[in-house]
């Protein structure tokens, strides 16, 4: 087994509140994994259980195959980059970075510490900053010091607790790329906690989406986007249109569905992960970019899952693409994303224009209807 960190049936309760419920996860060596979810979903608690700041109420946390439930934080071979960096204000940059090495027993010789600190500062592009005070540095520079302070100890796992949240948008983008490069260079396992889906999807090898203390789905960003296991994941990763309905009949290769609005839909059953039965309440999901919009009905593909007309309520220019908010009496409101220069070379649609809408069977996912009572956010 090559997993460097693992959860086995881990739960964490604070009195009445369950912050994490029955987590099972293996993190492979050298992997970049993200915990993604809204605040209060248990992602930070999970990270802190790996760091050793929280003890699981049930289950076991493993590091390199050894149960570390009873190992205190200061004996675990992991290091953390804190949300607000937590640099020691009474120490300069060099002493901050050297802090971890100086706690080791036996303590490495001063010359070696000095050399390694300078190597590390070079790695994070802070050469020449060693004697600065931490509060003289900009947010981005403090972030690099925090990274250097953690990485110098060559941890088995580097834990990052929303490390980019305090940076402005442009700098955050730069640091995302830098972090990714850094991770490839040092080959250390990174576990990142974030509520920013774009950040998680763009940086990680795998993303663990969490919801109310449970793991909703773990997978590569592509996997999560193309094959969400439930409506929550489909909703969280990218934008989706959801339509609710009931399964009328499951056939060998096809599924007949009747949407609540009365429209019948026929889908390929191979696209569905879950085995469904007749009469199951389900939700079908389709990504905005997979909707086909056309002025002329003949441009709509024949084998579409749904064909309808809808009025353009609103449109937002996103540069190359335009996002349309459409409304149909039966389907309700939904989003479509189309390229400004589509194959049909049509001019962008105007607000209030009535257009033909369709999407293919392959673009439609059947999901468990686990959100029916919640408002359709996207």
């Amino acid at each position: 087994m090559t997993s460097v960190a693992a959860f086995r049936n881990v739960s964490k309760r604070y009195g009445e509140i369950t912050a994490a419920r029955n987590l099972n996860l293996d993190v492979a060596s050298g992997e970049f994994l993200s915990f993604l979810g809204p605040s209060g979903c248990g992602k930070t608690t999970s990270l802190r259980m790996i760091a050793g700041f929280e003890q699981p109420s049930e289950g076991e946390v493993f590091l390199e195959g050894i149960c570390v439930n009873d190992v205190p934080a200061y004996s675990r071979p992991v290091n953390m980059v804190f949300q607000h960096y937590a640099l020691f204000p009474h120490l300069n940059v060099e002493s901050n970075v050297a802090y971890g090495l100086k706690q080791r027993s036996p303590k490495p010789p001063t010359g070696e510490i000095h050399n390694r600190v300078h190597e590390m500062l070079e790695l994070v592009q802070l050469t020449g900053y060693s004697l600065r005070q931490t509060w003289e540095l900009s947010g981005g520079q403090q972030q690099r010091v925090a990274l250097a302070r953690a990485l110098i100890n060559k941890p088995k796992v580097l834990l990052l607790d929303e490390p980019l949240a305090a940076l402005d948008r442009k700098l955050r983008r730069e640091m995302q790329i830098e972090l990714q490069n850094l991770q490839r260079n040092v080959g250390i396992t990174f576990i990142l906690v974030t509520h920013d889906q774009e950040e998680a999807l763009s940086m990680s090898d795998r993303v663990c989406i969490m919801r109310e203390g449970e793991i909703a789905q773990v997978g590569s960003p592509l996997d999560l986007y193309d094959r969400p296991r439930n409506q929550y994941v489909a909703d969280f990763v990218g934008k989706s249109n959801f339509f609710y309905g009931v399964i009328e009949q499951v056939r060998t290769w096809k599924v007949d569905i009747r949407l609540d609005c009365g429209i019948p839909v026929v889908l390929n059953s191979s696209r569905s992960f879950n085995s469904h039965k007749n009469g199951d309440k389900i939700c079908i999901s389709v990504r905005p970019e997979q909707l086909v919009l056309a002025r002329d009905e003949s441009n709509i593909p024949e084998d579409s899952a749904i064909k309808s007309t809808a009025r353009i309520m609103n449109r937002i220019f996103l540069g190359e693409q335009i996002e349309y908010l459409l409304c149909d009496e039966r389907l309700g409101e939904f989003l479509a994303l189309s390229s400004r220069h589509n194959e049909l070379n049509e001019k962008p649609f105007e607000t209030n224009e009535v257009v033909f809408v369709a999407w293919s069977r392959d673009a439609t996912l059947i999901l468990d209807d686990d959100e029916r009572d919640k408002p359709n956010v996207s």
């Binding site: 760091a51 200061y74 004996s75 992991v78 937590a86 204000p89 802090y99 706690q103 302070r149």
Partner: protein
């Protein structure tokens, strides 16, 4: 409004100014000014009784300051790591203890100590081997130090608590994460963060103990602290000598308070930087 404010300030500072002024009086009486001189300072400094009382006060204040900063810091750290309603109650009790009038602390400590002495002295007498004089607990240095520490410790707790509360809790976790044991974390991270507050608490405790009259008056026993000496000598009439002693105490206390203020501000500045 402006006149009102002026009058308030006059009431506050004119008497103090007069004491300072009259300490430089060349004449014998406190009520009439006859030219300026520093003879009373010389007289005060060469007065053996005043000198003894001064050193007694100094010694007591120093020990009180050390004890209360140690105990106060320990208590503040313990309170910080506590949770729930118990902490709220204990916090409240600390604030209340600061507002208890000195006279109440004086009487309470006196009664408590006398009760303890009455219990232990006969016990010690019976336990001691025949032929030797048994030790006898009595009022003195120790009782003044105990009473003062009781009071000043609360001050230290409040000052240090404020500093700890302003400290980023993540710093301690960061230190633990970087392999420092709890003890190393304490002296490598926590202590450097809170030492300005401890020093400020030390200096405030020193000044409070040094200046205290009421509590000392009750529990000092045969020992005379400087404020008690001044009170005693005033009964023989106010002399410029007393004014001179008062002025010196005032100067000393003020400078300590200014230094303490500096440390507290330094602490706040450091806290803000984080």
């Amino acid at each position: 409004m402006r006149i009102y404010a002026t009058v308030v300030y006059l009431f506050l500072y004119v008497p103090i100014g007069l004491i300072v002024l009259f300490s430089f009086n060349a004449g014998r009486h406190a009520s009439e000014l006859r030219g300026l001189s520093i003879q009373w300072y010389g007289k005060a400094l060469s007065n053996p009784f005043a000198g003894d009382a001064f050193f007694t006060s100094l010694e007591i204040a120093f020990i009180v300051a050390i004890l209360s900063s140690l105990m106060g810091t320990a208590a503040a750290l313990a309170l910080q790591s506590m949770k729930g309603p118990l902490r709220v109650i204990l916090d409240g009790l600390i604030y209340i203890s600061i507002m208890i009038p000195g006279i109440v602390i004086g009487i309470a400590t006196l009664v408590a100590l006398v009760t303890v002495f009455d219990f232990f002295n006969p016990l010690l007498a019976t336990l001691w081997p025949e032929g030797y004089t048994p030790p006898k607990l009595h009022m003195g240095y120790a009782s003044v130090i105990a009473a003062h520490t009781l009071f000043t410790m609360s001050l230290v707790i409040i000052i240090v608590r404020a500093r700890i509360a302003g400290m980023d809790r993540a710093l301690i976790e960061a230190s633990m994460d970087l392999y420092a044991s709890p003890w190393r974390t304490f002296y490598q991270v926590t202590l450097p963060q809170i030492y300005p507050a401890i020093l400020a608490g030390f200096l405030l405790s020193f000044t409070f103990s040094f200046d205290d009259f009421i509590i000392s008056f009750f529990v000092a026993g045969p020992n005379t602290t400087l404020p008690v000496y001044i009170f005693a000598s005033i009964r023989r009439g106010i002399t410029p000598e007393v004014n001179a002693i008062g002025t010196m105490v005032l100067a000393g206390s003020l400078s300590l308070l200014i230094v303490a203020q500096f440390f507290m501000r330094d602490g706040r500045r450091r806290a803000k930087v984080n």
